[in-house]
């Protein structure tokens, strides 16, 4: 089984890099999360209209950012996987999907919780919430497609095609949902961004964004490592059976 060894040996460099970076990323994630949450929950001023509930924003908004960025990152790595056939690119799209889906779900749940005091109901067909919901569907479709293939490399390529088609579609979906929303919603409904953001709110928001990014990287590294180990295990098992 000396064949194609370079294909699976390739991730070694990634693994070495990942192991070196991992403690720093995890440390940064914890530090930033604590700082961001403290700033958001205790330091930032409460909103004159929404009171304390505005603090949900510090959990909600960065989660929505991450939901969208992770999908973009998946599209980029899917393209890289298709073009350069780099195995880590395939794995990283797979590893990122559930994390992105979790962020999206977090954004949806916090959005609903925020909606209750703001709008008097948990779910409003607000353009952003609706877009996030559709994004969650895209994540679910992607993960379901991965799960349906037995052959790993086939699954990677099929999922890559899906994520790219989805990525091309996302701006169209976003545009149409925004447009649909302005058609159907009375303009008086407050949107989540509200008035211009003051610095005392913006800083914790950005800190939380950075914290989520680090958290993502940390979990991402664990997942990619696990995927690579799993692949190696499979190969070892099969070559053992062949002998």
């Amino acid at each position: 089984m000396a064949i194609d060894f370079h294909k699976y040996a390739n991730p070694t460099r990634f693994l070495r890099l990942a192991s070196a970076v991992f403690p720093w990323v995890t440390g940064a994630a914890v530090l930033l999360l604590v700082t961001g949450l403290y700033m958001g929950l205790f330091v930032a001023p409460e909103d004159y209209q929404q009171g304390e509930t505005v603090r949900i924003m510090f959990v909600h908004v960065p989660a929505a950012w991450m939901g969208m960025s992770v999908y973009t990152m998946m599209a980029v790595s899917a393209a890289a996987g298709l073009i350069w056939k780099h195995p880590v690119a395939d794995l990283s799209a797979k590893a990122a999907a559930p994390i992105g889906a979790c962020f999206t779900l977090l954004a949806l749940v916090t959005g609903a919780l925020w909606g209750q005091p703001m709008w008097g109901t948990y779910w409003v067909w607000d353009a952003r919430l609706t877009s996030m919901l559709i994004l969650l569907f895209l994540y679910l479709g992607y993960m379901a497609l991965w799960g349906s293939f037995d052959d790993h490399s086939k699954a990677a390529r099929a999922a890559a095609i899906l994520v790219l088609v989805g990525a091309i579609n996302i701006p169209v979906i976003k545009f149409s949902v925004d447009w649909w929303n302005t058609l159907h919603q009375p303009a008086s409904v407050a949107t989540l961004d509200g008035p211009k953001i003051h610095g005392s709110i913006l800083t914790p928001l950005l800190v939380m964004g950075a914290a989520y990014m680090m958290l993502f990287l940390s979990v991402f590294i664990i997942r990619v490592k696990a995927e690579i180990m799993d692949r190696r295990l499979q190969i070892m098992k099969i070559s053992q059976l062949q002998e």
């Binding site: 089984m1 064949i3 194609d4 052959d151 790993h152 499979q234 190969i235 099969i238």
Partner: protein
């Protein structure tokens, strides 16, 4: 016209099917692919047909890699697989007509004649016997000529009469300067056929 394949390695899932297979064919030559069950005969034929992507190595048609320029190769080979590619609700003739117009040349009547299908040509393919289906599928080879035949078990479910008939057909194809790559369990007894052994025995022209 020539077909060459070098250093072909095929991996299915995580299993190595075959390693470093090589073959070359030029006008009038045929290769009989031998090997035990699971030796990768079907995989090899599918790689050469351009259906499977080899993990390593390349298949070249007239010196050009078929993966790099598929257009130059498309339409130059006939592939007969395990399945018959027949639509049960269409008649044998309709099935054959479709595939041959799809390939560009249509000599359906002649093909039906050669494979002794004229009598059943207007019956729906769904009610034909396995052997009759196989012959209808084989008739594609004649209905729209192509220089390279890739045949996976072409004579399964044929009786001795039709095996002979098919072997003659293959011999005529080779005489006309055609090429063939086939996997069968029994010897077709056609002159000038080399073999390729996937059990590690190498090739002999």
């Amino acid at each position: 016209m020539s077909l060459t394949a070098t250093d072909l390695t095929c991996i299915r899932g995580d299993r190595l099917v075959f390693d470093k297979a090589a073959l070359s064919l030029s006008a009038g030559q045929a290769l009989w692919v031998k090997g035990k069950n699971g030796a990768g005969k079907t995989s090899l034929l599918r790689v050469v047909a351009g259906l499977l992507k080899p993990a390593r190595g390349s298949v070249c048609w007239n010196g050009i890699d078929i993966r790099e320029d598929p257009d130059a190769y498309q339409g130059h080979c006939h592939y007969i697989g395990h399945q018959d590619a027949l639509k049960p609700v269409l008649t044998a003739r309709e099935n054959l007509t479709f595939w041959s117009t799809y390939a560009g040349v249509s000599r359906v009547a002649e093909a039906l004649e050669i494979f002794e299908l004229s009598r059943i040509a207007d019956m729906p393919a769904g009610i034909l016997s396995a052997g009759q289906k196989k012959r209808t599928n084989l008739a594609r080879l004649v209905a729209s000529p192509a220089p390279l035949w890739i045949l996976d078990e072409p004579i399964s479910s044929l009786d001795t009469h039709y095996i002979r008939l098919f072997a003659d057909c293959l011999a005529a194809h080779l005489k006309d300067g055609g090429m063939a790559l086939f996997a069968t369990h029994q010897d077709l007894q056609v002159d000038g056929v080399g073999y390729l052994d996937l059990n590690g025995g190498g090739t002999r022209e």
